[in-house]
Amino acid sequence: MVLAPVLSPSPEAGPAEPSFERLVANLVGLFQQGVGEALDEHVFNGWALRVFRWQFQQNPAFRGYCLGRGVTPGTVRSWVDVPAVPTGAFKRLRLMSTEEGREPDAVFHTSGTSRTERRGEHCVASLRLYRSTLLPTFRVHLLPDGARLPVLALMPSPQDAPTSSLSYMIGAVSEAFGAEGGGWFATADGELQEEELRRAVEGAVDTGAPVLIAATAFALAYWLDGLARDDLRFALPEGSRVMETGGFKGRVRGVSRDDLYHGILARLGIPMNRVVNEYGMTEMLSQFYEPAISRFQDSDVGLEDRFHVGPPWVRTRILDPVSLAHVPDGEPGLLCHHDLANIGSVACLLTEDMGVAVADGFRLLGRIPGAEPRGCSLAIEELLEAAQAR
């Protein structure tokens, strides 16, 4: 296949949408209807087509991409026909879909797995919209009991890490649902402040007030190692809980998820059914959570039986890695998310994560195994690191 030349902008875009602000206001209204109920297919589809029309109109690169694939708002009947944008594209392009000249509210960077990897950038046109998707989803999965808890964040504060979407998210959560006694327990360059953290945990144990710990799986594993080294054990008050993220690949640098969760129980006294994995990405404003607290609180659902669900305004398809066609139910494939909250950039994202559909969500199989070339041909990461080292 050779791509057709890109046409000059003459969008067959249908009726123009009034403005980005107006669309945001409408979407915020939709999100306020709650996380509990799924959206009817026709409601989701109607919204997805509106979002597509908007992005087609406002984002020249995305429009050219769609035209190159012969797709216009005139040809798209269903949200599944919207061309998916690869998450890798955020490393090369600013993919904003707003009125020309509008500056983003924030620019978040992907973390990258190595210091030399090209970083991706997600320009977030509306932080209000970001908060309106992240807050209700967080609350339903971490705080379904309506508790207000001190948030112990094992990450740098949003002031120290202004390009981290995770720090922003936990900042928003602390502001909306937090209670006195929380804090940020990592420096700007990510170093964990174990001493301060220990004092905060001791404080919680003393007062008997439960806490919410928010951390990357990596930071947790590091902290638990430190606690084990110092032979420290705490029994955090009942009602304490953990949101961990990034450890969904099944392993966290040599620590299995099982060991991590057992470590949390042993060192902090928080049972597994109060530890929730969050799966999110910088390129996407909405998040997925394991409904460990929201649904499984009182049942013993093993780690291997857990799965992730998103809010009703996100739909996930599972695609064959080679053909990118839908896989039959129960078969593993690449996750392709359609997030209405991404109206300011691109809504339909092709990820490099593998998963399999279950219930109303998916089970993550992680970043695809061996995502680097094997054998004597050069692994990209090694090459870049070697290049950087010179």
Binding site: M1, V2, L3, V6, P60, A61, F62, R63, G64, Y65, L67, G68, R69, A84, V85, P86, T87, G88, A89, K91, R92, L93, L95, P321, V322, S323, L324, P332, L334, L350, E352, M354, I368, P369, G370, A371, E372, P373, R374, G375, C376, S377, L378, A379, I380, E382, L383, A386, A387, R390
Partner: protein, 464 residues
């Protein structure tokens, strides 16, 4: 194609008696404890004198070549077994399996091994006795008593070639191939057992998977007099840490290759030949080889430009997709290909000067774009084409990958070839060759910059 498991070992009779079998990636293999592993290595070393050193090196060449040549005969049962077994174990198509066997076994004949020997040693008999030295005195070359060869498994045949080098020099040889490269060394060892049973008593091929062979691996690393390793940078690093300080390690780490097309072959007349050689170099080994080009640098100023070469290359890759088909692509590779392709589409739509040609599914991809720095390919027959003003601009582009640079396939440089080759060598290239020769270096090539045999040898000077 056969589907039942392959017996991934070949050892001299009586050296392995009591073992448990395990299976990994369609390969059955024995799991040894430390005692059994030690027993095997003692047996190999003990057999060496009678098996290898009783003959002259020329006699070993003859015997090894007789076994190796069997893989060039399509009627030979071992060759046929190789053809049947390679596709499933190496994850390549039957057509690719035939191309790989032919290309590899070409260098396993007595004639080619003899040529290798004389290219490496001005006096091959120095392996048998002390020979006079130009400056006076005499010297003799000693091979390691026991060499341990660890393969990567990426390209089938590589560990068989490594094994031949060891045996040729008179080293008792233990080969641990990677799972994708088990078939050829095992079958070659079987051919040896049939053609030269005495010689075969000093060689063992044994596959084990990560973890299951800890004991064997530890014992072999402790016992071997020299270790040859193919693999990723991390593998090599870990081996260095585990070896006794006195044991030499010949390490072939990650490598990357490119192609350079000069203006004198950029004509309508030469284009098909150039494109065909390029496409074959990309497609062979499904681009997993260290010799496989990641990028093609095309000089400006020819009658046809990089765009036409790109189109011709795309047509050839499509043709090879049929005659030298890939197997199913691993999800990780397919995903990387789609990420790349769609990102290119978006960049093009955003106004970047970039051209994309793609095959069905994720089968092959050619990207033409201007580049100020070289980016490695995500593989799976994915190649980047860049236009450069002059061939002499290419070495600068390659500086960042210099330490991993291996082959530069060239065409159309005419009389400038020495000058360009010198500049490429300066930044790290170790092999500059015609495009058509890229996939299969000759046996005597300076493998990653060093003599393939001399790297094994310890010289003993006899003065006075």
């Amino acid at each position: 194609m056969v589907t039942e498991s392959f017996d991934g070992w070949a050892v001299p009779p009586g050296t392995l008696t009591d073992f448990v079998l395990a299976e990994d990636g369609g390969v059955r293999h024995p799991v040894l404890d430390a005692e059994a592993a030690r027993g095997l290595l003692v047996a190999l070393s003990a057999a060496r004198e009678n098996a290898l050193l009783r003959d002259t090196v020329q006699e070993r060449v003859r015997l090894l070549g007789r076994a190796g040549a069997r893989f060039l005969d399509p009627e030979d049962p071992l060759r046929q077994e190789a053809e049947e077994r390679l596709p499933a174990t190496a994850d390549i198509s039957p057509e690719m399996a035939r191309a790989v066997i032919e290309g590899m076994a070409r260098d396993w004949t007595a004639e080619r091994l003899a040529a290798l020997l004389s290219a490496e040693l001005s006096q091959p008999e120095a392996l048998d006795l002390f020979v006079p030295q130009p400056g006076g005195g005499r010297a003799r070359a000693f091979a390691p008593a026991l060499s341990f060869h660890i393969g990567a498994g990426t390209v089938p045949g590589v560990s068989a070639t490594s094994m031949l080098r060891g045996l040729l020099l008179g080293s008792a040889t233990l080969v641990k191939p990677g799972v994708g490269d088990v078939v050829l060394p095992v079958l070659l060892a079987r051919a040896l057992a049939e053609e030269a049973p005495r010689l075969a008593s000093a060689v063992a091929v044994l596959y084990w998977s990560g973890g299951s062979g800890e004991d064997t691996e530890r014992v072999a690393l402790e016992t071997a007099d020299l270790v040859v390793a193919y693999g990723g940078d991390a593998t090599v690093r870990s081996l260095r840490d585990r070896l006794p300080v006195t044991t030499p390690l010949v390490a072939y780490h990650h490598r990357l290759s490119v192609a350079l097309v000069g203006r004198s072959v950029l004509s309508q007349e030469s284009l098909p030949g150039v494109a065909s050689a390029l496409a074959r170099a990309v497609a062979l080994f499904d681009q997993r080889g260290c010799v496989s080009p990641h990028a093609v640098l095309v000089e400006q100023g020819g009658d046809v430009g990089a765009g036409e070469l790109t189109e011709a290359l795309a047509r050839e890759l499509e043709r090879l997709h049929r005659v030298l088909p890939p197997t199913h692509l691993a999800p990780s590779h397919a995903s990387a290909v789609h990420q790349l392709r769609r990102t290119c589409e978006l960049r093009r739509a955003a106004g970047e000067n970039i051209e994309l040609h793609t095959g069905p599914g994720a089968s092959w991809t050619v990207v033409l774009e201007s580049a100020t720095k070289l980016e490695p390919s995500c593989l799976g027959r994915t190649v980047h084409v860049h236009s450069v003003v002059d061939a002499l601009d290419v070495p600068d582009l390659l500086v960042p990958v210099g330490r991993h640079l291996q082959t530069v396939g060239v065409a159309g440089l005419g009389e400038r070839v020495d000058e360009v080759a010198a500049a490429l060598g300066k930044v790290g290239a170790v092999r500059i060759c015609p495009l058509g020769d890229v996939p299969f270096p000759p046996p005597w090539w300076h493998h990653d910059g060093r003599g393939p045999l001399s790297v094994f040898l310890r010289w003993v000077d006899l003065e006075g």
